[in-house]
């Protein structure tokens, strides 16, 4: 079989196809075949690891791009017209000239596409050439290659903190147990480490892995996009099969952590890897406005055809009416005159050419330009600039700015988007006593303060060792204050640099102990040591330190986030800040330790030089990363969830330092320095049914079996036994009630609460239990259930120790933003992977849920239950809505759904009802949602309700959702750049959303909508002049203007003003838009660009063109006026009318407006004068002649007045009689700054706290029509009416307040 044999080639291709589509793939090592030709390679049919996301190739760019561009209907139209112009019998203008516009447009678009594709190419190239280690048989070792060289069947070695280049079956790791930790935040946004095991029974345990000796066959399934599932078995030469699953697969894009190196066998490469398959390419987004615009363009086409038909018929009848062949009828070259019908047939096409401007060719280009301008302003907004990360907003999608002004639904991620994803220990309650940790709270608020000081290059000497805490001495020492200040600054710095360490920025690790509690603990310790009795405070902190699964790792195996993985999985998007990322990667060497000016532990503070190479804040704005390790003790905590880490750090602050954890023991150092080693008897892991976890240890001193349990309050409270320590006085019996009260307070504050309990298990009980536990573990059927049962058996009669409140700190101004968005008529959904309790807590904290809301909790186990719950809820909600008492109020219904229920609700037969219910809910909270479900929800709402959706998220798990929504917003924050890459806009803080939507969205939308309407109007008004003239020239497609002047008209005279209008017009100022969010609603739904406004302006155009034509016509009727002299006043009048029309529409005149409007007029005058000075042109000297004629001016004046009178009057009347909210907003704008501010503040004050419910756009009580008397008195009046209004609404609101607040008024402090 020769290589060039075409049959062989086809057969080869078919084989390849078959191999790729096989359900099972048999993969063997490439090593025996190394160096052989391509034909001999066993895995040659499978794709390599190089990825290609470009659309075009160099050679095929022009044809492909043209093909792509001609998918746009408009382009075909324009080309068709240009061609039509070349047909002699129908041409209306010089054909070559007609080609210019379309050529310009096509080439501009092609340039843009080429640039975008080039950027994709560059990012692919960078990604493909990242280094990795592949085993080479020739060199007998792993040699450095590039990602694109990886093939299926290769052996790849990944070092610590490196990114996995392809999907690898893990065969060997440096760990003697064959374990490997990976971080999958690039894929799913989860920051905790995941364990991967080598395929058992292979060559795992040998210290050195011999790739060459691998002679098994790996059989795996076809590539799929399921990140959590993988089926595979390895067939050894002796036909023994070893199964392997996802627990042995290293996914492309993950980062290897805590493991020196890992060696894997490539099973999927390149586009077949799970992460690439998970990345459905970005949807081509077309804005809603543009979709509507296209519909209106079709109307224009119909209008055009109708007008052409009128022209053709008119021509026909005109010709029919002629009795003979008049001298002005030009025969063809043979002296033959076309028949009227043929001539009118030709005329139809000539008319199309004549009236082609009706379909606005320049509109598409203008829109592009306007959007560029709008994006310029958005990206230059200083309010959307984040100083800490030194990043502006990035607009990645250039064509959907106006959609920002029409959003009706926002789908938000929680962690990292609403919250900072930093867990902070806030306060605790021990034995019914609340320790508010005021200093800690102060520290946290101080850290929140915006820093404006100059960056301090941190270079301070190690602090003198301190023992314990003495707040007073610190505060009295000015130097110390200063230093602390600096250090705070530094900490903030580090915290905001992408925290390269999971959950361990100084903010999270440093806890300032409560003084009272600290004293209690030190007393307790001394007593407990001496009396051998355990003080509850002492126990509480032991529980904090012990009852978790936090792994302690030493500084050597530290884990840090690398930034050199530039998001390969979104490579279809241009990598805007690729270079930035590379810089970051380079700066990784600058590792420094977070400096602490106070040591929290009793161990002496010791600078570790290794971690102290003094950071340099380099110019690129990239902050050096820092070690997560507490250098004072040399330990690092690796927690599965950030709250656990926060608790361990809290314990550490009080001196209870978790030193190490092995499966069998936990080592804790006490404040006194004593080290206790607890033997771990068992760990009852967390599950979502029990909502708690326990650790059973043997106390080293008392030798008792002690069970420490922590969990959600409701799962603990029912298991409590007798109060702790009967020896304590009777008033301690209230511990449970008090703690419960504190827990409620915490929850109100949005803290995550956990209860800690202890139980001493007698030796006898333990023996019994451990036997049942053993048998449960050994069981085959229902093992998990049995194990859970045993756990439940043990977790009884618990003794409450205390409770903690942990804060997942909300980002700055999140509640305010959400409240404002809600007032703007946007429904906010939060889709989170978190558990419902946390999500609900955060929901309250960020004012997504309000206390008086009706919260519907949907959580069901099977579909049947789900259906019935859904039906009954829907029924209830409907009933509620139909209740006459609730007519004017929007029921503030909120929905909380868990992931499993959501999956059922999304199924085909339930989704309709679900959408129905969701539509009536003000906010929806979905918990435990998978990335796929997120996008499913977004798609469902978008498609079923036909609303504008926005998705915002920060992690890779939000990518699907971001791409599914109409607008995707990525938050460049803690979790890599995945979301940002996939997004249309990238912001750095959630609060930026407020200005982005309310101000820029509103502006962009109204600007563009008005600009487009104006454009249609302009073209119609202009073209209709030509049309009316046809009635007086026998419908012969004559123009009374020179063709060049017609081109000038659209190209120079009237092109810039609408673009300026679309970029710069400002109907309402930013302050008012932010202060009165209701104004946003004007853009939602149909918005300003509606069927109605479109046709009104079209009718206006008709009217104006009639006036502009017929007034000059009636003046010049029967006089000795020639064609071009007649055309001049028409041109002038039309120009002036069109410009003045725009100036009626312009809401705010800045210098730029004046310059452009007057400039346009001046340019048109000068250009026309210049043009009419050219001898060869037809309209030679006509304008000059007209300018000396007073009639010309008289015509211009009266025509413009008559043409604009209706619109002007309409505006005046509407503004006076029925002012729209926007107009009222503008009135507000005209007040002076302080009055305005006071007014907005007052008004917001009355709305605040969710008291006022408004079902529809309540017109703000604006001082409209009060231009002259915008006095305080007037405002006062106004506000009182408003107040009475809102109190009325409040009564309605009370009816819907079903969620009773058990502890109101709440006084937690």
């Amino acid at each position: 079989m020769a290589w060039w044999n075409p049959l062989a080639l086809i057969r080869d291709a078919l084989t390849g196809q078959r191999v790729r589509e096989n359900d099972l793939r048999h993969l063997v090592s490439n090593l025996p075949y190394e160096g052989l030709g391509k034909k001999k390679q066993p895995n040659r049919y499978l794709p390599g690891n190089a990825i290609k996301t470009t659309k075009y190739t160099l050679l095929l760019f022009i044809p492909l791009n043209l093909f792509e561009q001609f998918h746009r209907l408009a382009n075909i139209y324009f080309v068709g017209l240009a061609i039509l112009n070349f047909v002699p019998v129908v041409n209306a203008f010089e054909p070559e000239v007609a080609l210019i516009p379309i050529c310009v447009i096509l080439s501009l678009t092609a340039l843009k596409d080429a640039w975008e594709d080039f950027r994709r190419y560059q990012s692919d190239k960078k990604l493909n050439s990242l280094p990795c280690f592949i085993y080479s048989r020739k060199d007998k070792q792993f040699v450095e290659r590039r990602w694109k060289d990886v093939r299926v069947g290769d052996f790849v070695k990944v070092l610590c903190n490196e990114i996995v280049p392809a999907d690898l079956l893990l065969l060997h790791t440096s760990d003697h147990k064959g374990m490997c930790h990976i971080e999958t935040s690039n894929l799913d946004g989860e920051t905790n480490l995941k364990e991967r095991k080598v395929v058992p029974g292979l060559c795992a345990t040998e210290p050195n892995f011999e790739s060459e000796s691998f002679n098994s066959v790996v059989v795996c399934e076809r590539p799929n996009n399921n990140l959590n599932h993988f089926k595979c078995y390895v067939e050894k030469p002796n036909t023994e099969k070893v199964g392997a699953g996802i627990e042995s697969l290293l996914l492309r894009g993950c980062t290897v952590r805590n493991t020196d190196h890992a060696i894997g066998f490539v099973v999927y490469a390149g586009h077949e890897t799970k992460s690439m398959l998970n990345n459905n390419g970005p949807r081509y987004k077309r804005s809603k406005l543009e979709r509507k615009l296209n519909l209106d363009v079709i109307f224009c086409v119909i209008l055009l055809l109708a007008m052409c038909l009128v022209g053709a018929l008119g021509h026909f009848f005109w010709r029919q009416a002629l009795p003979g062949v008049p001298p002005y009828l030009v025969p063809d070259s043979n002296g033959h005159v076309d028949s009227p019908s043929l001539s009118s047939f030709y005329m139809f096409f000539s008319m199309i050419i004549l009236l082609q401007v009706l379909i606005p060719i320049s509109l598409y280009v203008s829109i592009e330009l306007v959007k560029i301008g709008q994006i310029f302003f958005i990206t230059h907004d200083i309010d959307l600039y984040d100083e800490e990360t030194d990043s502006r907003i990035q607009c990645k999608a250039l064509n959907i700015t106006e959609d920002l002004g029409q959003i009706e639904y926002i789908f938000s991620d929680k962690t990292g988007t609403l919250t900072e994803n930093k867990m902070v220990f806030r306060r605790c309650s021990v034995m019914g006593t609340e320790y508010p940790h005021k200093e800690n709270a102060i520290r946290l608020t101080v850290m929140d303060e915006p820093e404006s000081e100059e960056e301090v290059i941190y270079n301070q000497e190690p602090l003198p060792p301190q023992r314990g805490w003495s707040l007073d001495s610190e505060d009295s020492d000015p130097e110390g204050t200063q230093r602390r200040h600096e250090s705070r600054h530094k900490n903030k710095f580090a915290a905001n640099a992408q925290s390269n360490v999971a959950f361990s920025s100084p903010l999270e690790t440093e806890v300032i102990p409560d003084r009272k509690l600290l004293r209690r603990v030190s007393v307790a310790e001394s007593t407990s040591i001496s009396s051998q009795k355990m003080d509850p405070h002492f126990e509480f902190f032991l529980a904090l330190a012990i009852c978790n699964t936090v792994v302690v790792s030493m500084g050597t195996a530290q884990r840090r986030r690398t930034h050199d993985y530039p998001c390969s999985f979104q490579s279809t998007n241009p990598l805007d800040n690729f270079s930035n990322l590379l810089k970051q990667a380079g700066s990784l060497r600058n590792i420094f330790a977070p400096k602490r000016d106070r040591t929290l532990s009793d161990t002496s503070f010791k600078e570790d030089d290794r971690f102290n190479p003094f950071p340099k804040v380099d110019d690129s704005g990239v902050f050096p990363s820092h070690s997560q390790c507490d250098e004072s003790s040399g330990v690092c905590y690796e927690a599965e969830s950030p709250d656990e880490a926060a608790l361990v750090h809290a314990a550490k602050a009080y001196g209870f330092i978790l030193l190490s954890r092995t499966p069998d023991s936990v080592t804790v150092r006490l404040p006194s320095g004593r080290v206790l080693v607890f033997e771990v008897l068992d760990t009852l892991t967390f599950d979502s049914n029990r909502k708690r976890m326990s650790v059973l240890v043997r106390h080293p001193i008392t030798k008792e079996c002690v069970l420490y349990t922590k969990g959600a309050d409701y799962s603990i409270m029912e298991l409590l036994g007798a109060p702790y320590a009967e020896h304590l006085s009777g008033n301690q019996k209230n511990v449970v009630a008090d703690t419960q009260y504190h827990l409620d307070c915490y929850a109100k504050e949005g803290l995550r609460t956990l209860c800690f309990t202890k139980k001493v298990v007698s030796a006898k009980d333990y023996d019994v239990w451990s036997r049942s536990r053993q048998s449960a573990k050994a069981a085959i059927d229902g093992r998990e259930q049995l194990i859970m049962d045993t756990a439940v058996q043990l977790e009884t009669n618990l003794t409450l120790l205390g409770a903690t409140g942990i804060e997942d700190r909300l980002q700055e101004s999140v509640p305010d933003t959400i409240l404002t968005l809600r007032e703007a008529g946007i429904k906010v959904w939060v889709l989170t992977g978190d558990k419902p309790e946390t999500a609900v807590n955060i929901g309250y904290a960020c004012r997504l849920l309000e206390d008086e809301d009706l919260v519907i909790n949907m959580s069901c186990k099977n579909k049947l239950a789900c259906t019935s719950i859904l039906d009954s809820t829907l029924e209830e909600v409907r009933r509620y809505e139909n209740d006459p008492r609730n007519v004017d109020t929007t029921p503030d219904i909120s929905l909380v759904i868990d992931g499993r229920t959501l999956a059922m609700l999304l199924s085909k037969n339930l989704q309709g009802r679900f959408v129905e219910l969701a539509k009536r809910c003000r906010s929806v909270l979905c918990c435990r949602v998978t990335p796929l479900q997120k996008s499913g929800v977004v798609k469902l709402i978008r498609e079923k309700l036909r609303v504008m959706t926005l998705a915002i998220g920060d992690g890779a798990n939000d990518v699907n959702m971001i791409q599914a929504a109409d607008i995707g917003i990525g938050i460049s924050g803690q979790e890599g750049m995945q979301a940002v890459m996939a997004s249309d806009f990238a912001i750095s803080r959630f609060k930026h959303l407020k200005k982005l939507l309310l101000v820029h969205g509103h502006w962009c939308y109204t600007r563009l909508a008005n600009m487009i309407i104006y454009f249609f109007y302009k073209n119609l008004a202009n073209v209709n002049l030509l049309f009316w003239y046809q009635f007086y020239c026998g419908f012969t497609a004559t123009t009374m203007l020179d063709y060049w002047l017609l081109i000038f008209f659209n190209l120079f005279y009237t092109s810039v003003p609408p673009i300026m209008f679309g970029i710069m017009d400002k109907d309402v100022s930013a302050e008012v838009l932010l202060g009165v969010p209701e104004l946003y609603r004007t853009g939602q739904g149909a918005g300003e660009y509606s069927f109605c406004t479109f046709w009104v302006s079209m009718l206006d155009a008709f009217y104006q063109s009639l006036i502009c034509f017929f007034i000059p016509y009636l003046v010049y009727q029967d006089l000795d006026v020639d064609v071009f002299t007649f055309g001049m006043p028409l041109n002038a009048v039309s120009l002036i009318t069109i410009l003045l029309h725009l100036s009626i529409e312009i809401k705010a005149w800045t210098v730029v407006h004046w310059i452009i409007m007057l400039g346009s007029f001046a340019v048109s005058l000068i250009l026309t004068l210049l043009y009419t000075s050219c001898v060869t042109c037809n309209s030679y000297w006509t304008l000059q002649n007209q300018l000396t004629d007073p009639i010309f001016y008289l015509i211009c004046i009266i025509t413009t007045v008559v043409a604009l009178l209706p619109r002007y009057t309409f505006h005046v009347m509407r503004n006076s009689i029925n002012p729209s909210p926007i107009v009222q907003g503008r009135h507000l704008d005209r007040l002076d700054a302080s009055t305005k501010e006071a007014w907005i503040k007052e008004w917001r004050g009355y709305r605040g706290a969710g008291e006022v419910k408004r079902s529809k756009l309540s017109t703000p009580p604006s001082p409209s029509n009060s231009r002259t008397t915008a006095s305080a008195d007037f405002l006062g009046n106004d506000i009182t009416t408003w107040k009475s209004l809102s109190s009325g609404a409040l009564q309605h609101g009370a009816l819907s307040a079903r969620r009773e607040n058990p502890h109101s008024p709440l006084t937690c402090e």
């Binding site: 008049p326 030009v330 302003f377 030194d390 020239c1033 009374m1040 005149w1149 210098v1151 009639i1191 231009r1267």
Partner: protein
């Protein structure tokens, strides 16, 4: 603490322009503001309208149709297309002095000089006196480009070909005697047309330039013999030719033929009887057209036009009415919240 001096390049400029905070004038259209405007515009318009109307009323116009399709028309027999070199005479009288200067127009109706293909059927190169176009006229001139023998037609094209060729002589009948009214044919065309846009070839005598070319089909005489009385008024700068070449905008039009400014008629046409001798050549039956002559005097605003004055009056009144409406609206909707 010192404010950060070297701001990062990423930080947007905090200028009024980039932050969209440029000081702006925000006009609010509402009833109260526009009332004075409406009143002012209304009054001004009424004033202009009155002035225009008075001016227009003072303009005298005399229109005489001589198409001759009616039996009783003196030109009836001339309207027969077969009749050559027909002359007819139109009698008319003027009651009072027709103030001068009197403009003498000929008018055509239903004549579409603005037909597109008619309009482009000309060769500006020829008319500019460029001899190279004499040999090969512009192709848009088809079918009036070459004659049957492939000789180029100069000037070529449809506009030229259809040159209006009726001529008029005006007599005042004084005591039964015909006294010819001198007609001034100079300067009736645009100055720019006569001096710049149209030029004769710089060949003397002019007829030599036309060697090898033929005259337009419908023309009785070649271009260099258009005006037999005045040799300077020939070729492409013949005034009547220039007037014709400036195509009328609308199908009913008049074109300036002569001015009456000389001799006894400097002050206008005195009252009395007149006769107009018409050399009837131009056929109009093929398009149901009509021919007429128009005598008119002009004011600063040109010819007689009542429409503009009336329009100004109407709109002015409308504006005043609108201002009253606005006043009512203003009074009613001044403070909507207080109600």
């Amino acid at each position: 603490m010192v404010k950060e001096e070297n701001e990062s390049p990423n930080r947007p400029d905090n200028t009024a322009f980039t932050q969209q905070r440029l000081p702006a004038w925000q006009p609010m259209l509402s009833a109260g503001i526009v009332i004075p405007g409406f009143v002012l515009i209304g009054l001004a318009f009424i004033g202009i309208g009155v002035a225009l109307l008075i001016t227009s009323r003072n303009i005298q116009v005399l229109e005489l149709d001589y198409t001759g399709t009616e039996q009783n028309s003196p030109c009836f027999q001339c309207s027969d297309p077969d009749k050559q070199n027909c002359v007819c005479t139109l009698q008319f009288s003027i009651n009072r002095l027709f103030e001068g200067p009197v403009f003498f127009y000929y008018g055509l109706s239903n004549y579409f000089q603005n037909y597109r293909r008619y309009g482009v059927s000309r060769d500006d190169g020829q008319l500019y006196g460029d001899l190279s176009y004499f040999k090969e006229p512009y192709d848009q001139c088809e079918p009036y480009r070459y004659d049957r023998n492939k000789r180029p037609i100069v000037p070529c094209g449809s506009v030229v070909n259809s040159l209006f060729n009726d001529t008029f002589r005006l007599f005042q009948i004084v005591n039964g005697q015909q006294k010819e009214v001198p007609l001034d044919g100079k300067g009736i065309a645009w100055w720019t047309d006569y001096n710049i846009k149209f030029r004769n070839p710089t060949v003397t005598p002019l007829r030599n330039a036309f060697n090898g070319t033929v005259k337009p089909l419908f023309w009785p005489r070649p271009a260099y013999e258009l005006d037999t009385s005045d040799p300077a008024n020939n070729g492409f700068i013949n005034q009547d030719f220039l007037v014709w070449m400036r195509r009328a905008a609308l199908p009913d039009f008049r074109k300036l033929y002569r001015r009456i400014t000389e001799g006894d008629y400097t002050n206008g046409l005195p009252a009395g009887n007149y006769s107009l001798e018409i050399a009837y050549n131009y056929p109009v039956l093929s398009f149901n057209g009509r021919k007429m002559v128009v005598f008119s005097n002009v004011s600063w605003m040109g010819g007689k036009n009542e429409f503009l004055g009336i329009a100004y009056l109407v709109i002015g009144t409308l504006c005043v009415v609108m201002s009253v409406v606005m006043l009512i609206v203003y009074a009613k909707f001044k403070f909507p919240e207080e109600e």
